[in-house]
């Protein structure tokens, strides 16, 4: 039990340290999308730490699992995760969004090791992931494909075209994760284009559906450990998340889609993250 608890604490510590790194990286580059990145950090940490069968030293080996970040604007989180797992040197993160860097505001597959598909325009990565999964089926490969999309991204019609094709072709090697943070650029998703129930929608499209807390490593473990729930069906994990998670004043505020903290706000954010890091380290030592 203690071992499991320690494992969760380690992941929480890693995710919190990464939030700090993401924040510093974006602020230093005067970039954007802090809150979008914070909402997916825990999912990414769990995927790269526990789920994906990948080798950073050989990122293009044919037998790998593939991960596609369809919501490309969350890529600051993915860059930090990829660097942490050794896809490229950590020092590359310092060049984020600056001249000569391979790391831009949206990920470029031709330049960044570990990025499987260039994304940024919403509703594209999911279709490409369906193509990856279909290729694995054709090649009789047991590798899986994971794709992370935003709840707002599900406004895009192509998402539902891809959902139909994945179910029709029985892609049980495909796992879609919806970062359901309920906020879009201009406000709450329910006030812009109400998604109603993702679970009912995907179920009606022929998918297995799982609903979890996207910031809780126990529920993430439960969800990913029982895949596929039913053979012959793709699975969607609907992750209940909080945009801006980890810095209280940013949480659930649409303004933080693109805002950058001022000096005082930065201090507050770092204090909160450092406090949590200290707390987690203390409990880990016990």
């Amino acid at each position: 039990m203690k071992k499991v608890k320690n494992e969760v604490l380690k992941l929480e510590l890693k995710a919190t340290e990464m939030r700090k790194e993401i924040l510093e990286m974006i602020v230093s580059a005067k970039g954007t999308h802090i809150a979008s990145a914070f909402s997916i950090v825990d999912i990414l940490v769990y995927l790269y730490d526990k789920v994906l069968n990948i080798n950073p030293k050989d990122p293009t080996t044919t037998k790998r699992d593939k991960f596609v970040l369809s919501k490309g604007h969350g890529c600051a989180a993915l860059y930090v995760v990829l660097a942490d797992y050794g896809f490229f040197p950590r020092r590359v993160l310092k060049s984020y969004c600056s001249e000569g860097s391979i790391l831009g505001g949206h990920p470029d597959s031709s330049r960044v090791p570990g990025i499987e598909a260039s994304t940024g325009s919403l509703g594209h990565g999911f279709s490409v992931a369906v193509g990856f999964a279909l290729a694995n089926k054709i090649n009789k490969s047991s590798s899986r494909v994971y794709c992370l999309i935003g709840d707002g991204e599900c406004n895009e019609g192509a998402v539902w075209e891809a959902a139909m094709v994945a179910a029709h072709h029985k892609l049980d090697n495909l796992v879609l994760i919806i970062d359901d943070n309920k906020l879009m650029i201009s406000g709450f998703a329910k006030d812009i284009l109400d998604p109603l129930s993702f679970s009912k929608k995907f179920h009606a499209f022929g998918w297995n559906t799982i609903e979890i807390d996207g910031h809780n490593f126990n529920t993430l473990a439960n969800a990913f450990n029982k895949l596929p729930i039913k053979n012959n069906r793709p699975t969607v994990i609907i992750a209940d998340t909080i945009k801006g998670k980890g810095v209280t004043y940013m949480e659930n505020k649409k303004e933080w889609y693109s805002m950058l903290p001022n000096g005082e706000q930065m201090e507050t954010a770092l204090k909160e993250l450092n406090g949590k890091i200290k707390f987690l380290k203390k409990h880990l030592q016990k």
Partner: protein
Amino acid sequence: MRDSFINSIYKVTKLNNNVLCMVGDIGAFLLRNYIRDFPFNYYNLGAAEANMVGVAAGLALSGKIPFVYTITPFITARCYEQIKIDVCYNNANVKIVGVGSGVSYGTMGSTHHSLEDIAIMRALPNMVIISPSDPQEVEEAVFAAMKYTGPTYIRLTLQSKPLNYDRGNFKIGKARIVKKGANAAIVATGEMVGIAIDAAETLKKYNINCYVINLHTIKPIDKALIKKLSEECNAIVSIEEHSVIGGLGSAVSSIISQYPKNNARYKIMGFNDVFCKEYSQDKLKIFKKYGLSADYLAKEMLKLYNL
């Protein structure tokens, strides 16, 4: 051209099992032998072209060679952003095949026409554009596309007559000289090559010995030949089943207008920034309504030549 594509995709799949034929709910009858013999290479992804192009990119990035095939406007303009990002930005080895290009669906109206596809595809980095002129060239294009690694757009019409000339080997980016000439040149693509041959025949009566050039590859275009023609000729006319904006004419124009040794006056013939509002089973009648025929072409060349 359509039948030739159906035969060619069969042949290339037989040669290379990585070839896939993906369709957006068309061609089931014509492709019946393909479906029977290559059931695991055939995918009908439904009337959802945007997703089909994205899926094709994923397959291509996994080592497959998908040919995605449906009516031209639906596999170009409708899913342009998927072609831009999923295919070209990822440099995925996807073959986009548009059938019934230009005004081939003569009775179907502008929804089924494509008079802007070359323009939009030309603007995409990494994209190769092949516009065959007859059934044999369709087969050559399909084989060349299979062997070439990278995004490729093959622009097909429907029915077209075989052209008879000493054509030599097909090479992407290398134009074919259908007829040699002096002082004047008609450069054409697709079915307009046939019309250009007829116009050159007419021009003989006026003592104009006119080159006829088949620019089957619009990107990368055969710059060397176009430059040579612009030095040698007084007059060049381009003709295409496409808008005069952004197509073959624009591609040729951008070369000769920037070439200091250019001697040629130049005229672009095509659909003059209009939707085609005519209905006919006979495409030549539609062409004529829009000023596109061997006679009109010969007249334009005469005017330009004698300026």
